[in-house]
Subunit: 484 residues, 2 copies
């Protein structure tokens, strides 16, 4: 609970409509995209100027009240999960594009601007903003920075951190920092990278300057079918080894293909064990050349069928299956749980095998959809939340998948963040030493631990209670996870 005096002080700072306290008003903020976790926020504030953000943070800092920043609420790891004793600071009103400079190819925007809205505003100049999380129609750029979001095209165009030049961010004590520059590199410690993926734990972002890219002249997609997942995995490595950097390189396994095909009729081969979608972009000549080379590599890698989209309509159809894979899987099962581990590309066959074994062991179906090019897996565990105990079993299965990723030299999250969802797996990923370094960095910005407490970085105490199930850098053999 938040003291009535704090709420009165917030009401004095902000217009009446910007302070929500009534149960039905705050209810929509009770969860983000990880809707299995819910909590009523103590109060929701909706400022629309940086001065208000500063005032709110100073007030909360003085009163020692925790603050949780929230963008569009599309996050999948519970990074914006409220607390009853905390102020939920919604940034939805920060929705203006402040400046779009087509010559410098930059856009200065407020944090609540939707990812896709930036590309829409840049389109008249032939420009776009590259990172494209699948929630891009709804998710906001401030949240993208907080989670260092990726997307289908991040293999070629990088993560959010590679596409942002500057941010303004207000620390818990109400100071607005100017971070980054328009130059290639900025002197001093790399605070810009530090803000990316910090999950709202270091500062509240109030402005973001992103890079815009020229829209490629042409994009083309090649679809390849394989009769074994392992062969498909090897083809992924062969493409990269062949010096091709696809704009997208996606893989779907048999259950995912079946679900997608039943849903959008993309024309996927239903008998395939796995399909790859390889998109190349660039000038007309570059694309023609790359498509031929991709075709050759896929053929040499044992693809049982290779199709090239003949026109833009067919290209979009090929993608429609992949882009709708999550809702398609949703039709197969009352509920599904989307995991987000990352592994070195070479470990693809072994980890997929391990997931299949775990699926049998837990008695839960899995569909695999993933950014194969950068080793970012999205296993979807199918379950029924109305069956007692099945959610818990699903979460345990998911945790095992993440530990499997770590055991193969990967990480527990590719692009969805840690939040509350994967906080225990951080104990698997990191040793106490590295966790201590994280806590020290946190303390440099927020010594009282008031910004988004309990997210992203577990306490050493929590890890110790979990039995310090540490596997580091994949140096220990799968599947036995050591306990020490």
């Amino acid at each position: 609970m938040i003291a009535a005096s704090v709420i009165r002080d917030l009401q004095a700072l902000l217009p009446a409509s910007a302070v929500l306290t009534v149960r039905e008003d705050v209810a929509p903020y009770a969860s983000d995209g990880l809707s299995a976790y819910r909590c009523q926020p103590g109060v929701v504030v909706l400022p629309d100027t940086e001065a208000q953000v500063i005032a709110i943070l100073r007030l909360c800092h003085a009163a020692r009240v925790p603050v949780i920043a929230r963008g569009a609420g599309t996050g999948l790891s519970g990074g914006a999960l409220p607390r009853e004793d905390a102020v939920l600071l919604g940034l939805a009103k920060f929705n203006r594009i402040l400046r779009l400079d087509p010559l410098a190819r930059t856009a200065r925007v407020q944090p609540g601007v939707r990812n896709l809205a930036i590309s829409e505003a840049a389109a008249p100049y032939g420009l776009y903003y590259a990172p494209d999380p699948s929630s891009q129609i709804a998710c906001s750029i401030g949240g993208n920075v907080a989670e260092n979001s990726g997307g289908v095209h991040c293999l070629k165009y990088g993560l959010t951190v590679n596409n942002v030049m500057r941010v303004r961010a207000v620390t818990m004590d109400g100071e607005a920092l100017e971070i980054g520059s328009e130059a290639l590199d900025s002197p001093g410690y790399d605070l810009l990278a530090l803000m990316h993926g910090s999950e709202g734990m270091l500062a509240v972002i109030t402005e973001v300057t992103v890079k815009l890219l020229a829209k490629p002249e042409r994009a083309q997609v090649v679809l390849a079918a394989f009769d074994q997942v392992e062969t498909a995995g090897a083809a992924v490595s062969a493409i990269i080894a062949g010096g091709i950097l696809p704009a997208g390189l996606e893989m779907m396994d048999k259950p995912a293909i079946a679900a997608a095909e039943a849903f959008v009729h993309a024309g996927y081969p239903l008998d395939a064990a796995a399909i790859l979608l390889v998109e190349v972009d660039g000038t007309n000549e570059e694309v023609s050349d790359a498509v031929l080379r991709v075709h050759d590599i896929l053929a040499a890698s044992g693809a049982t069928e290779i199709r090239t989209a003949n026109n833009e309509a067919e290209r979009l159809k090929f993608w429609a299956g992949r882009k709708n894979a999550f809702p398609a899987v949703g039709r197969m099962s009352p509920d599904y749980y989307c995991m987000d581990g990352t592994i070195p590309r070479r470990a693809l066959p072994a980890v997929l095998g391990g997931i299949a074994d775990l699926s049998a062991q837990y008695g839960l179906r899995v569909a695999n959809v993933f950014h194969a090019g950068d080793g970012n897996l999205h296993p979807l565990i199918l379950y029924d939340a109305s069956t007692p105990g099945e959610l818990e079993k699903t979460e345990a299965f998911g945790a095992k998948i993440l530990e499997l990723c770590v055991a193969h030299g990967g990480t527990i999250t590719g692009e969805h963040g840690v939040g509350v969802e994967k906080i225990d797996q951080m104990c698997v990923q990191f040793r106490p030493l590295e966790l201590q370094a994280f806590h020290a960095v946190k303390a440099a910005f927020d010594p009282q631990g008031l910004l988004n407490p309990g997210k992203a970085v577990p306490s050493l105490h929590r890890c110790a209670e979990l039995g310090a199930m540490h596997v580091h850098g994949g140096q220990l053999p799968h599947p036995e996870l050591p306990r020490f």
Copy 2:
């Protein structure tokens, strides 16, 4: 001075040959590549195992003795400048390539391994390490991480931070951190980016895992002459706007052309006000296509002459002038001072004009050689150190150039770091707020301030004494620099 007891303790830890105390033994360590600054180190230690590094740091931490890490000593901003009261920790003996994995395309190396040695070791597999500072034959990878080094090819292939996956680093209290992962992204705060460019202030690097890239099938260079520097600058923007990402995009002005031509007879047009060297790489087809497009853009941008290297020998000859520009300028003047500012590309004409004005004002000649594609200027100020007062005048001129870069939205360093050289300009680049954030990050790793004290980040007190000559983000008009 370092207490005799500390030196005795160091001698007890290390073999006799690894602790240098005699004046003639420590003399070679008195400066790095910024040789105008010199200081005899109190003692030089040359460990060859991480365990020794840990023991040295623990000993110094307990005795409150500062430690300055040094790689190959090629740094140009005095980042490895010793102190009489500090231990100079040389990492030259850490010169082993620990593992080269051609399939995963990674190399795990010790920090003293030379930059070029990595590419040499990778060459049999058709691979190379992309960042190529001009000192790459001598500079070491640990120093590259500490300075976040770039090079001619960083426009396309990124800085060191974009090409390193993991580091091991020992903090001042002797704890070895494992930072980064082989995956695209790592959870937790981005300590990997934080280590890059931290100039030895946060931890001592003991191992680096770099990405290797496939050698492009072909590279080709186009040389273009312009009768105005401004036109050349506009052509740079036109190439990037045309969707071409050159592997290198370099510019030289008339004095630099004259010096280079007299030195290596590269065949440069001596009547040009500026030349551009545009290198494209990729597959044979891609390069053929890109060369034609570059040619068209250069012609449309008003180039007075365009030449394409007809063969590899001619390509290397075109580059020879650029690669030898610094020693070539060295033949024109007893001394020169190489600056390293970065500006947004659009500011090229204005900043070059400003440098010409300052040159007249200070009565010192300047040759401009730079990475035009990423706006990284290297103005070389010609002077004679034997003329009383000329070094001071040169340094004042150099400082003005950096302030000019900041006033145009640029930064005071592109790839050479801050070190001792540009520490006062950090007061120009940043407000006290951002400097406080840097100090807080420093304190998170090294609360006693024992690692490389006095470098990179100035104290607020120092900035206040300089008169807080703050220009931020280029929002204030050139040429009047505000004082407040």
